[in-house]
């Protein structure tokens, strides 16, 4: 890694050696795991949600969405919070903080009433946590007084946040659920209750697959299944959307955000940072590939920063926000007509099929030569470009201005690595 690049960031007044944290989940629920992840280079963790009692979990508890040859496009789990009691967890946290004083110990907590929230806040503060994350967002709790049922209710979020703030001096982060239309509403509740930041997203309520012989969802737990949380690469677009919504709300714009959802590469990390996240949390890709993925996240992020002349994360955090605008404000004065490199074209005809059946019948496909030609019916939707199996064969070409529209400079999409 380059010497000039600094990946550290102060988040809520806590110094983090890098922005990469494990999100609260089975990737960080005991001493050995967290010690190993710290040794490999993670900046901190949000310790697996601590409740009053340990949970009683089902088996099996995972399912995946697979797409031809790519396992784990998305991941579904039916787990709840920590299987240990709060006393057991407090001991582990104390020992970790002692052995790794420079690493950041966020601790996720979840209570079912004022008293439980207050107790957990006090005890985890005492155990040596650096920040508290309030889990208002687990979608598969066996109690409706907990998890995303609470997180969908701005009043309850405000109330429990306030209770926690009254029982700790630590920064408090409210973890929000994506199972809602306007994530801004409960987030404002958290802000009123005194939250120092929000984190999002937790998992999305889902049924990934149906077992068509057992007539239930997957995973099958003794012939039955439940709606439960979906995470991993597939949810990144939804996470980015919620983060943009939070950061663009005038009331919430200054509330720091910790970004979660489908982060797997440095490139994903940069995307969250560009939308204003100041801290990054990861679970599913760690479950799939292990803690070691942080090595390429850190190195890749540093390489990106070096190539762009950034020396600290704050140089570019939030830089993409001004360019995410309402649909009605987009420049609609032109069409970018794709061009086809006939030397590269292998003559599969996929562009023509998609353009006809899903577009504007703008590609003539010569069945003798097996070569496509784009006609003037093309509207520049770029379906063909996304469908073509050959790298760099169909690319954005000429810019055509619509009738009556003044020609002007048009900024094009940057094709990094397809």
């Amino acid at each position: 890694m380059s010497k000039k690049i600094d990946l550290s960031i102060d988040f809520l007044g806590v110094h983090c050696e890098n922005p990469f944290f494990l999100s609260s989940s089975p990737v960080c629920h005991n001493y050995e795991m967290i010690a190993k992840c710290f040794d490999i280079g993670w900046g901190g963790v949000f310790y697996k949600t601590v409740g009053i009692l340990g949970m009683n979990e089902c088996s099996p508890r995972f399912d995946i969405v697979r797409k031809e040859g790519t396992p784990f496009v998305g991941f579904k789990n039916m787990e709840q919070i920590s299987e240990h009691t709060w006393q057991e967890n407090a001991e582990i946290i104390k020992k970790l903080k002692h052995d790794y004083p420079t690493k950041v110990m966020g601790v996720s907590i979840m209570g079912a009433n004022d008293e439980e929230w207050a107790l957990l806040a006090r005890e985890m503060t005492k155990a040596g946590a650096d920040m508290l994350e309030l889990n208002f967002s687990c979608p598969q709790m066996t109690s409706h007084a907990m998890g995303s049922d609470v997180g969908m209710n701005p009043e309850l979020v405000e109330r429990y946040t306030r209770v926690v703030k009254q029982n700790t001096h630590l920064p408090v982060i409210a973890k929000m659920t994506p199972n809602i239309t306007h994530i801004e509403d409960p987030s404002k509740g958290a802000l009123r209750g005194g939250a120092d930041a929000v984190s999002t997203i937790n998992t999305i309520k889902s049924i990934c697959n149906i077992d068509i012989e057992n007539l239930t969802g997957k995973p099958v737990v003794n012939g039955k299944s439940s709606i439960s949380g979906y995470s991993g690469a597939a949810v990144k677009p939804i996470a980015l959307r919620f983060i943009a919504q939070l950061k663009q709300d005038p009331e919430l714009a200054n509330l720091p955000v910790s970004g979660i959802g489908g982060i797997e590469t440095w490139q994903d990390a940069v995307e969250f940072l560009l939308l204003g996240a100041e801290n990054l949390q990861v679970t599913t890709s760690v479950m799939q590939y292990g803690y070691r993925i942080v090595e390429d996240m850190k190195d890749g992020l540093a390489n990106f920063m070096e190539a762009h002349g950034y020396t600290s994360l704050r140089d570019f955090i939030g830089k993409a926000l001004p360019n995410v605008i309402p649909c009605e404000n987009l420049d609609r004065s032109f069409q970018i007509i794709p061009k086809i490199d006939l030397d590269k074209c292998v003559g599969c005809g996929r562009c023509a099929i998609s353009c006809f059946d899903g577009g504007h019948q703008a590609i003539d496909f010569d069945t003798k030569t097996r070569k496509p030609t784009i006609t003037d019916k093309c509207v520049g939707c770029h379906l063909c470009l996304n469908v073509c199996p050959v790298f760099d064969c169909i690319t954005p070409g000429e810019i055509k201005f619509k009738k009556g529209c003044e020609p002007h400079d048009v900024k094009r999409q940057h094709c990094y690595y397809a």
Binding site: R292, E295, D299, G300, N303
Partner: protein
């Protein structure tokens, strides 16, 4: 229609993978724990690690891993016999076929070229000076490893360009000047200096030994062997493999009048002579060797390559004499078993029957300030093994110099 492949001199023999195919290939990788592929790279290039970087889109990181571990990473990507090294060890063999590790490495090195990445930089000086004789694979590796420790290194070579066998013993369709230059540039970026077109004989060697804190002799096996007592090897039109490959490389493939070519030898160098002769416009090319197809030393990949180019091979025949008055006109071959005989008309006969050390360095071993390695010490192996040997010797030299 001809089934024979036409490939102009110097055009790449194999196509590289574009970024999309690279991502597909990298996602086939099982990202093994304690990766077997990494264990089986002689030079410790660590494919398990750089493939993981590619998989997680950290292409620059992949380049760093390769460069730090193997100073000739770009060349090795092209010419390593991966099928009997890293790819043979690949866990994915147990599912279908191995990851194309060489191709992924070539892609990473292509990124280094395209993005103009400067990965290595000169280390602060430790005050020691070392000379390397021979700018071939092992000399370059020794030079790079020592330079990383802050040693001031000068590399001497008799040829006009650095690279040794990389440049003059391999045909450019398999290893282009561009890629060799990329590796040399990496060596130079560490502050290593080159004195080219400088032949170091015994006499000069003594001077260097006096001048430097240590001298590495990595002159390789740069003289060609001949079959002893074979009648007609002094005729015009008879030459050795290295002389032929070198003159083809220098002339950019423009050598005329090869006429009908017969190549004697069954190793990779013989295969390279065959493809080169074909690409230089020889009227016909035959390759004959004493081994069988099973026991010939050339890799299957090399044999397939020349067969694709339409070169007939004659296994299990040995040359018995070369005919001609002043210039060679034919070669007589006899079967290793039985009584079959073949006479091939020939205007050019190329011997690729192995290499030996130049007379000046015959029998030389490490002694005092002098360190001997590479092909000279191990009797001629692959480039990646020369890099490995170079890394080891650099370690010995560093110990000797107390750094």
């Amino acid at each position: 229609m001809t089934k024979v492949r036409q490939l102009p001199y110097g055009e790449p023999a194999e196509k590289g993978l574009n970024v999309r195919l690279v991502m597909e290939e990298a996602s086939r990788c099982l990202l093994c724990e304690d990766a077997p592929c990494s264990h089986d790279c002689p030079a410790g290039t660590d494919p398990g690690r750089f493939i993981r970087s590619i998989r997680f889109r950290n292409f620059t990181g992949a380049c760093k891993t390769i460069r730090h571990n193997n100073i000739l990473g770009a060349s090795c990507a092209e010419i390593c016999p991966q099928e009997r090294l890293c790819e043979k060890a690949c866990s994915r063999c147990g599912i279908d076929k191995p990851i194309q590790i060489g191709k992924l490495q070539a892609f990473a090195m292509e990124q280094e070229r395209l993005l103009g990445l400067k990965i290595l930089e000169a280390a602060p000086s430790c005050g020691k000076k070392v000379a390397c004789i021979g700018a071939g694979p092992s000399g370059l590796a020794v030079a790079a490893e020592l330079a990383k420790l802050g040693v001031s290194v000068t590399v001497y070579d008799e040829n006009e360009k650095a690279g040794g066998m990389l440049r003059y013993g391999i045909t450019p369709s398999r290893l282009s000047d561009e890629i060799i230059d990329q590796d040399i540039k990496a060596v130079e970026s560490l502050g290593v200096k080159f004195e080219l077109s400088r032949r170091i004989d015994k006499n000069e060697l003594d001077k260097l030994v006096a001048q430097y804190d240590a001298v590495y002799v990595g002159v390789g096996l740069s003289a060609s062997k001949m079959i002893p007592n074979l009648k007609g090897t002094d005729l015009k039109g008879v030459e050795t493999a290295l002389a032929f490959l070198k003159r083809a490389r220098i002339a950019g493939g423009k050598i005329e009048d090869l006429g009908r070519v017969v190549i004697i030898g069954g190793g990779d160098v013989a295969m390279d002579c065959a493809s080169t002769a074909k690409q230089c416009g020889a009227k016909s090319v035959y390759v004959a060797f004493i081994e069988t197809l099973e026991t010939m030393p050339a890799s299957k990949r090399e044999l397939d390559y020349i067969v694709d180019l339409g070169v007939p091979v004659i296994p299990a025949f040995k040359p018995v004499q070369l005919n001609g008055e002043d210039h060679v006109t034919s070669v007589e071959l006899a079967a290793m078993e039985g009584n079959s005989k073949i006479t091939l008309d020939a205007d050019t006969v190329i011997f690729a029957v192995g290499q030996k050390v130049q007379d000046d360095y015959k029998g030389m071993t490490s002694d005092g300030k002098i360190f001997v390695g590479g092909d000279l010490a191990n009797g001629g192996k692959t480039v990646v093994e020369a890099v490995a040997s170079g890394k080891d010797i650099a370690g010995e030299i560093a110990k000797f110099l107390h750094i």
